[in-house]
Symmetry: C2
Amino acid sequence: MLDHRYRSQRAPINLSEAIIPGLCAGCGARHIGLCDALSDEDLHFLASVSRPLTVQKGQTFVVEGDAARSFFNINYGVAKLYKDMPDGRRQITGFVSAGDFVGLAADSCYAFSAEAIQEVRMCRFDRTELRNVFGRFPAIEQRLFDFASHELVVAQEQMLLLGRKTAVERLASFLDGWHHRLSHTEDSNSGRALPMTRADLADYLGLTIETVSRALSSLRKLGVISVAADHGVSVLQSTRLAEIAQAAGSSSAKIQPMA
Amino acid sequence: MLDHRYRSQRAPINLSEAIIPGLCAGCGARHIGLCDALSDEDLHFLASVSRPLTVQKGQTFVVEGDAARSFFNINYGVAKLYKDMPDGRRQITGFVSAGDFVGLAADSCYAFSAEAIQEVRMCRFDRTELRNVFGRFPAIEQRLFDFASHELVVAQEQMLLLGRKTAVERLASFLDGWHHRLSHTEDSNSGRALPMTRADLADYLGLTIETVSRALSSLRKLGVISVAADHGVSVLQSTRLAEIAQAAGSSSAKIQPMA
DNA sequence: TGTTTGCATTGATTCAAGTCAACTTCGAAG
DNA sequence: CTTCGAAGTTGACTTGAATCAATGCAAACA
């Protein structure tokens, strides 16, 4: 319900890529919060501080520790953000898709790496121009602020997941969240295969691929989801899934002893 | 080193509490990023949208799910932010102290609860006035944006900790971070007892109190820390502690086989 | 058409952290 | 001074997820 603000904002404008390189055709400027008509001067300015960028599946476009020169706004596709430990352990901190900003969690250097798990198209902004962009388009600053606040809410939710939930609860939480995310995007075909591999899920949920697989089997056996031949996951009972995710119904509704 | 921006900014101004109820005596407006002289009109405005607030140790001042009407800036003391599950499991998402903002991770409702673990003094702002405050003091908006970005970096770091680190690594990471945090605050008496209980540590690190205790014993036996009679923790070898926290030296410098 | 290869699933076993329980210490209350 | 209770430590045992290992399966390829 919250994602709505970030994902399903349809603007009447439809600026071609030829005019504003940084903004994709078809979606215009809606992703970055610009919904009003823009002056020629504004268009020229936007074109000067942003560039379109397409990265292929598997390609890394942000490397943890590199100087944080760019700031991205995703137009199409899904990418994973992650942190690696020297011995190879990896934690995926989030998946980003259309409308999301990438590059907030950065000071002089990026605090994470980013890799496309599908073909990803985005606008790249020069980070040094960010203040200027904000000055000219306060709507973008506000939108970015709201996005950051929302990311913090999501991050706290994820900390609860990683610190306190069981494997099955983690899977249920993720599937529940992804399900909602899809329903707010145009392509609400909830029966689709997930764009990420089991390894990505494991790295996101703080588990191993084997445990992810077993947890999916558990949920399947409970009749809450179904797993297709291509490993795609469909939610059959979304309410039940949400209950498992929040551990509701199991002990929150604990019967009070009479004594 | 990053905390420096948020914690050790000393402004020459020293506005009394009588003039601006929302700003504490002694620190003036530096916490919220106001370092220039303010006009009478500005002072009056600030007084109208903010109020000073003191909460005692153990007192909860933000409840998850409540309407997010206020926004806080901590002046003194330490508070814990946390999320609870219906069956009692708890995850502390962070500890906040002087200079920190509380209330970012909120939409219409707070996404977390907050409880003072020491006496805490803070400024409370009306959230509906936030836009007006930003409009009048762009420095605050910028500071808040920087703070939010930094919180995201910290949150991602914590996700890595909760998802992938061992108990000892988690403790080492926390102690290393707290050690740095202290060194940037005025009272850099690194031999101090931690303000939080073992239970708080456990809820922050996704462990049980017994495991926290055992991990502290491990680090003590390694000679990296010492634990005082009052359970206060002192760092003896900060470099070693940081290495353990990042799992460096164990396998990152793995010797490459000759073959 | 068979082979390879990358994912995914499932089973057997191990292990790090959780659970249960005993004990210590210390400060506050009586 | 004694008692009490909260907080912390340590030990014995259990368990949920990790690890190790085998197998399935379909797309890519020779």
